[in-house]
């Protein structure tokens, strides 16, 4: 074999090795080609795993079981089988109403039968769906039995809106996460795929009959949740290296999956800030959002300041809490140092009452209208039910909420408790600032100035990480509010070519 032939073989292998395939634009076409090549490989070229099939082709018939509407199971001659399968592929490609309505991909199970109908072999072909592609997202390929997979994940405490995919890669070609599927049917999934640089990677946990799958597409069975990450380039023929990942990232992946937003409406405008030591963070550019920063304008006396995202620039120093949001730190300090703990039950009761009232009204839209009808000047119910909010600023709005949720008799008691919490939070903010400034004055920040990243102890309340800002991305993008102010390691979220 000549050197050029070796190179050609490498391309061919990359083209047919489903596991490692990177789909570049136009994804659907590539997928279509891959599906057909896969089929041809199975039917004609033979394969080590399919050697018995290869030798029996002439005397055998094939049964094609598809899950497109209507589900079908037919025993066919080879030519007719190939024709039918390609017809399904074509219909998927064209997006006929029936196929658009199908919530699953065309999964074809091929059973090899001898003349007496005895099953000799069986393979599952996950023929990739093909679909029009927008500029940004390519598509999502999800495993068959998607619902079973997501149900299983939910039963195991993982949010069900996990992207289930056998192939999900960050593409240098498109600058997007590349996957294959129906954008129209899974807009959220595609949205998530395009936005999240880290996703939960789930290998097929089930075969077609909810049994551990095996074979060309199979796994070793059981559930595998793997965070998709960008290191560990697989080699041809190595089916496991892609999944041989750092399990410590599992927690992070679950964390991410739990934060997947349900709708675009929840997204907030944010900017990506590149930090020292290969970290990055999304900061909110929304009104009223502040970040803690270290003001080194007087180096001998660094001070803690609050800055808006629009004020963050290169060489600024930002502070982020390592264990949860900074607002939670304030809450903890307020509870332990400034006595707001005794009012928390009251606060929770108030928020729970609002949630129930909103559900009763049929959603935030109707609830907001009702609140205005009750005399509220502002009706920011979405915010008030979150942990970031303590109380409405105006008593008038608060009273309207109490009337709306039918707890007007307790309004005074509630208002007093919430005001106490509000004051405690403000005092806690001052306390944290003093602690941090004292820490910096004690010379702890030297490493920060040197390397751009240092972890600061907050007496008894965990740690905060301080980073030097390297770059602020000029574009504003819509991001999930829960990723705001959560620094992440860039190398875990990059590209996989």
């Amino acid at each position: 074999m000549s050197v050029f032939d070796e190179v050609c073989a490498a391309y061919e292998q990359a083209d047919t090795a489903t596991t490692y395939r990177v789909y570049a634009e136009p994804g659907p076409l590539a997928a279509l080609v891959a599906g057909r090549q896969r089929l041809l490989k199975l039917l004609r070229d033979g394969d080590e795993d399919l050697a018995p099939i290869d030798s029996l082709l002439r005397n055998a018939s094939f049964r094609l079981v598809t899950n497109v509407i209507p589900p079908s199971s037919q025993t066919l001659e080879l030519d007719r089988f190939a024709e039918l399968l390609q017809s399904h592929i074509h219909q998927l490609d064209q997006g006929t109403p029936a196929h658009q309505a199908a919530s699953t991909a065309l999964d074809a199970t091929i059973e090899l039968l001898d003349m007496e109908g005895t099953q000799l072999g069986r393979e599952t072909i996950d023929v990739l769906e093909t679909a029009p592609v927008g500029e940004r997202a390519v598509v999502l390929r999800y495993g068959h039995q998607r619902k079973a997979t997501t149900d299983y994940l939910a039963a195991n405490g993982v949010e069900s809106d996990v992207i289930v995919s056998s192939e999900l890669r960050w593409s240098a070609a498109t600058g997007t996460l590349v996957c294959v599927g129906w954008p129209k049917l899974f807009p959220d999934a595609v949205w998530n795929a395009a936005r999240w640089e880290t996703v939960c990677f789930v290998q097929y946990p089930f075969g077609p009959t909810n049994e551990p799958a095996s074979g060309l597409f199979g796994t070793d069975g059981g559930m595998k949740i793997r965070p998709f990450r960008t290191t560990g380039v697989p080699s041809p023929g190595d089916t496991e290296s892609l999944f041989d990942l750092d399990q410590s990232l599992l927690i992070a992946a679950e964390h991410v999956s739990a934060r997947v937003p349900n709708a675009l409406d929840d997204a907030v405008p944010g900017k990506l800030v590149l930090l020292a030591d290969d970290y990055a963070v999304w900061t909110s550019v929304g009104e009223g959002h502040w970040n803690m920063a270290i003001d080194y304008s007087t180096p001998e006396q660094p001070r803690i300041a609050h800055v808006k995202a629009s004020q963050v620039d290169r060489d600024a120093y930002l502070l982020f809490r390592d264990q949860g949001a900074t607002s939670l730190l304030v809450r903890q300090v307020a509870d332990q140092e400034h006595g707001s703990a005794k009012h928390r039950a009251t606060q929770d009761r108030w928020k729970q009452s609002i949630r129930m009232a909103v559900a009763r009204e049929g959603g935030f839209g109707q609830a907001t209208e009702e609140l205005y009808a009750q005399g509220a000047l502002t009706a920011n119910l979405r915010h008030w039910v979150t942990d970031q909010s303590i109380k409405p600023q105006r008593r008038q709005d608060f009273d309207a909420v109490c009337r709306f949720v039918d707890i007007e008799a307790q309004a005074d008691e509630l208002w007093k408790a919430l005001t106490e919490i509000d004051r405690a939070h403000k005092r806690a903010g001052h306390t944290i600032r003093k602690w941090l400034e004292a820490t910096l004055l004690a010379g702890v920040g030297e490493e920060l100035l040197d390397s751009g990243h240092e972890r600061l102890e907050i007496s008894g309340f965990g740690t905060m990480s301080a980073f030097r800002v390297l770059h602020v991305h000029p574009e504003t993008k819509l991001v999930d509010p829960m990723v705001i102010d959560e620094p992440f390691k860039v190398e875990d979220h990059g590209w996989h070519g």
Partner: protein, 328 residues
């Protein structure tokens, strides 16, 4: 010597049908068309062949492929062929104006074959010449409409200088580039620079596994790297080692794309390239490609000014292409 399908100078224009559609691969005694991925790489090079020194922008293209052998060479081949066709060559009239009687000339006749002769005289429309016949000069002077076919001043036998061949496979050069051998072999320019492992690049370039029509050859015949053709010979490209000093890249005065063969070449030399077009070839199985790709991602965020892309047809399925434009 019989020459086939050679064109005279083309004032300007696209790559057209040259080289891109002509290269074949030899497998034993058989010949097969260039695979789609290889042809696409040639086209990628052709698409990125222009460098505008005055431009403040730089076009980047990153391709990731399963195996990067031959990739940089094919890209360079495409870029050089395209630049040869787009060059603003002087007209036949201008070229002949300064030649004295007796200057050897070559041209492509009506049968598309190369002929040789000796210039006698010319006026505005016609050229008089004495043909070369059986190794000697013909006795009768001939007269031909000088724009009826493609004339070119040449050595008596343009592929040789002092009996030494200018190229190992001159007919392959003509067939693959679609240009007169005199243009390819008799002029020097840096139409592309290849940055990478020199040993590997030279191995790719010298593999005689290509053909056009009946002529066999290697990419070194058309790429003609300065370091490979030898001192005093004409060249069209340069090879720069990935471990060379960055100053070597700056001094190359490249008119075409800089082609980074591999992650190391890109990571080490990316800032040294002055060319306004750069193509990076990354081998997906190489762990180093990961660092290069991350660098692409990060630095692109800092220098990116637009998603402007150089037009090239959609890449084959197993190839990724990532393009952007940044400030130089």
């Amino acid at each position: 010597m019989k020459q086939k399908s050679a064109k005279g100078p083309t004032p300007s224009g696209d790559l057209g049908e040259t080289s891109v559609g002509l290269l074949y691969v030899r497998v034993g005694k058989q010949v097969r068309p260039l695979p789609d991925w290889a042809q696409w790489l040639v086209e990628l090079g052709a698409a990125h062949c222009r460098t505008d020194f005055a431009s403040k922008e730089k076009h980047w293209a990153v391709v990731t492929i399963p195996d990067r052998r031959f990739a940089a060479s094919l890209i360079a081949h495409g870029a050089i062929c395209a630049r040869l066709h787009q060059a603003d060559w002087p007209s036949v009239r201008d070229r002949f104006a300064g030649f004295a009687e007796g200057t050897p000339i070559t041209w492509i006749d009506a049968n598309n074959e190369a002929r040789y002769g000796e210039l006698l005289e010319m006026d505005d429309d016609f050229i008089s010449y004495r043909p070369r016949v059986h190794g000697g000069w013909g006795l009768k002077a001939k007269r031909m409409h000088k724009f009826a076919s493609s004339f070119w001043p040449a050595n008596e036998d343009p592929e040789f200088v002092d009996g030494r061949p200018l190229a190992d496979h001159p007919d392959f050069v003509i067939a693959a580039t679609g240009m007169s051998a005199e243009l390819v072999l008799g002029t020097s320019d840096i139409d592309a620079i290849l940055i990478g492992n020199r040993t590997q690049l030279e191995a790719d370039l010298t593999d005689v596994c290509f053909s056009v029509a009946d002529e066999i050859g290697c990419l070194a015949d058309t790429v003609r790297a300065r370091e490979m053709v030898g001192l005093g010979q004409h060249h069209r490209s340069a090879i720069i080692s990935a471990v060379a000093q960055p100053e070597d890249v700056e001094g190359s005065n490249c008119h075409g794309p800089a082609i980074f063969d591999g992650a190391s070449a890109y990571l080490r030399m990316r800032d040294a390239v002055e060319s306004s077009a750069a193509i990076v070839v990354l081998d997906r199985w190489n762990p180093g490609a990961e660092n290069a790709a991350n660098t692409v991602q990060i630095e692109r965020g800092e220098t990116w000014i637009s998603a402007e892309r150089v037009e090239v047809r959609p890449q084959p399925a197993c190839v990724e292409l990532y393009q952007w434009t940044e400030l130089r």
